[in-house]
């Protein structure tokens, strides 16, 4: 092995920065899952009957389902009875009304993560709905959004304040029994975010949520629902970090997006959950169902994700293109280092006429990691003139990692156009040497090469976050050349 490769490996082995645990008492349910637990969660949150019924239906369905095994990931069986399904930071008098009432330790945690809530939110003009474990602790910029008529709140608040909207849209994109993890989430989800942008309104700011898994052994089951009514538009960013843990933590979120006629939703994710140590110990299991439905004509849903964390990622943000002329986009950078396993991609289901989808996937593997792109482009007989363009590129760093690509296509309309391009390249010693010979350090060179590889995806991110994403990539890859 050459010296350069060793340098790269040393860089890869940089420690995870965000590994710490905040010492806050949790109000948790004991481990285990049955109908009583589902009911207890619903009761703790004072939910209306329809939601309890929906949860129980999902739970009964889940019990009949089996954990999927088709993904290209390997892990020990999860004991679902050994997980606590509810954990809330203890508040003195119900929920805090403002940041002043928030537990200072909690705020300190955010500061450590580099997200001082108030300052940063103001500076960036971003409304942050921070989820600490399972309960929202602070929400800012509510006034400004309120004036525009935009509802942006925790899922629990939405259930309390806007139950009709929840009842109307919940589970309409990802049904309760959609898949094993979505069914589990539907039964036990604790909190998450809700966004409703009324007809004709352009959301006046980027919406952002930071998730963080904290209490030991508590699976976190967020539920996010975003609805853009006719002609509305919204851009939402979700970013994540998690503290260091020895035990694997399960995370099974569901995100549903609904775009009505002429509506636009842009959903961006920067995911930096603890990936496990260099031996593959610990780390988050991230089994997520994300799906958007372009329900109306000329609507558009765009997913952009930068995935650097988690021990295992199983995630396929998808678009159901029902409305005529609707557009679905998926831009992804997935980084897997050490023993990380990522099986991610997208599904584009073309139903309406002249629907159009674009898939750009950039996979980066380093260490012993396995990175899989799995995509489905399905064009139904009704989708006259549908078009898809798919581009999947893989970048390998070092000799022990691997990349796999599984692009599935089902075209049932002869007028459709489907294009696919794929490439796999190694981060070249030649490229590295070229940069070094120009006086650029190994670390900067690697960042530069990787950023170049990911450029087309980064430019899809909201401006404020593109820099952050690039920094995040530097950390994970600095280490990794990753």
């Amino acid at each position: 092995m050459s010296t350069k490769t060793q340098d790269v490996e040393a860089l890869i082995n940089q420690k995870y920065r965000h590994g710490f645990v905040t010492d806050i008492e949790s109000d948790s349910l004991p481990p285990g899952l049955d109908e009583d637990v589902v009911a207890a969660i619903s009761r703790k949150k004072n939910e209306p009957q329809f939601l309890l019924d929906w949860r129980l239906k999902a739970f009964r369905h889940w019990k009949t389902m089996r954990e999927p095994v088709w993904a290209h990931v390997h892990y020990k069986p999860i004991d679902y009875q050994d997980i606590s399904y509810y954990s809330a930071p203890r508040a003195p008098l119900n929920a805090p009304k403002s940041l002043d009432e928030v537990d200072p330790k909690l705020l300190a945690t955010y500061a450590k993560l580099g997200i001082p809530l108030h300052e940063r939110a103001k500076l960036a003009g971003v409304a942050v709905d921070a989820v600490f474990d399972s309960v929202s602790v602070a929400t800012t910029f509510k006034d400004k959004l309120g004036k525009a008529g935009v509802i942006f709140c925790s899922f629990s608040d939405a259930v309390r304040d806007h139950p009709h909207l929840i009842e109307r849209y919940l589970g309409t994109v990802v049904p309760a029994g959609d898949n094993f993890f979505a069914a589990l989430n539907s039964a036990v989800f604790s909190d998450g975010s809700f966004v409703y942008v009324p007809a004709g309104v352009r959301c006046p700011m980027e919406l952002s949520t930071y998730f963080r898994i904290n209490a030991a052994k508590t699976g976190q089951f967020e539920r996010t629902l975003i609805v853009a009514a006719e002609g509305a538009s919204v851009s939402y960013l979700e970013g994540c970090t998690a503290p260091m843990r020895d035990e694997n933590q399960l995370h099974a979120a569901v995100v549903e997006l609904v775009a009505l006629d002429d509506a636009r939703i842009k959903y961006s994710t920067v995911q930096n959950w603890y990936p496990g140590d260099e031996n593959g110990l610990g780390g988050i299991y991230n089994f997520v169902t994300k799906r958007g439905e372009c329900r109306g004509r000329n609507s558009k849903i765009s997913w952009t994700q930068v995935e650097t964390g988690s021990a295992i990622t199983w995630k396929y943000p998808s678009c159901v293109l029902k409305g005529d002329n609707s557009v679905g986009e998926f831009y992804s950078v997935a980084v897997a280092n050490n023993y990380q396993q990522a099986d991610t991609g997208t599904k584009m289901i073309h139903i309406g006429r002249n629907t159009k989808s674009t898939i750009v996937s950039k996979g980066i593997s380093a260490g012993h990691a396995e990175n899989t792109y799995r995509g489905l482009v399905k064009i139904l007989p009704s989708a006259d003139g549908a078009r898809n363009f798919t581009q999947c590129d893989s970048l390998l760093m070092g000799p022990q990692c691997s990349a796999h690509t599984f692009p599935y296509m089902e075209v049932k309309n002869p007028s459709a156009t489907v294009e696919h391009e794929a490439s796999t390249s190694k981060i070249g010693e030649d490229q590295l040497f070229y940069c070094l010979q120009r006086g650029i350090s190994t670390e900067d060179a690697v960042n530069m090469i990787v950023s170049g590889f990911c450029k087309v995806v980064f430019k899809e991110l909201p401006m404020e976050f593109a820099v952050e994403a690039q920094n995040l990539l530097s950390v994970s890859l600095e280490g990794a050349v990753g």
Binding site: F433, Y434, L436, Q437
Partner: protein, 252 residues
Amino acid sequence: MLLKITDLSVRVAGKDILKGVNLEVRRGEIHAIMGPNGSGKSTLAQVLAGRADYEVTGGSVTFEGQDLLALPAEERARAGLFLGFQYPVEIPGVNNVYLLKAALNAKRKAAGQPEVDAYEFLALIKQKMRLMQMSESFLSRGVNEGFSGGEKKRNEVLQMLVLEPTLAILDETDSGLDIDALKVVSMGVNSLRDPNRAVVLVTHYQRLLGYIVPDYVHVLSGGRILKSGDRSLALELERRGYDWVQQESKVA
């Protein structure tokens, strides 16, 4: 003495390529290293630049009096050693100007100078691009991405002009150039000619030396410098080939 190579031996992938090379380069000089294919010319260039997978098995190299072989590649570059690559690599998505600015700033930082500001840099690079007759579209393109062979070589010389190295080693910068491009590249190299700098040209052909007139010409063959002379040696090589040099050295 700017560069002093003493008995340098180098092994690449288990094979001895350089077998005791000696060479001295003073400031203000231009040297041409010629030789048949596979003689070790490019290996010499790469080793001087600090390519990691080339194993130095013997000898020493000093650059401005310091042990060059002890420095990692990036420090050699910052100290003023530039390699114009025979096959410049493409780095997709990385902006050509961005790389060059990072390179210049790395060098300035090492010299304790402040980073160049964006306007200053743009003015500098535009001036050098005019000299190299490059269109402004190069500013927005990725590093060598989709460049023709000739464009890549011009880009190498452009980088050299911006970085202003003390020692430039140009590895077959003339290969694959048409006559017009050759003139432009030569003009670029000549513009760098200065009593404080030196240039080492690695080339197959005498053609380049009509435009960049060397002070010394060396024949590298079989991993050794077999013969050194002035410009007339290049003309003789053009006329007679390399065989006679090899014969002569066997007799000696």
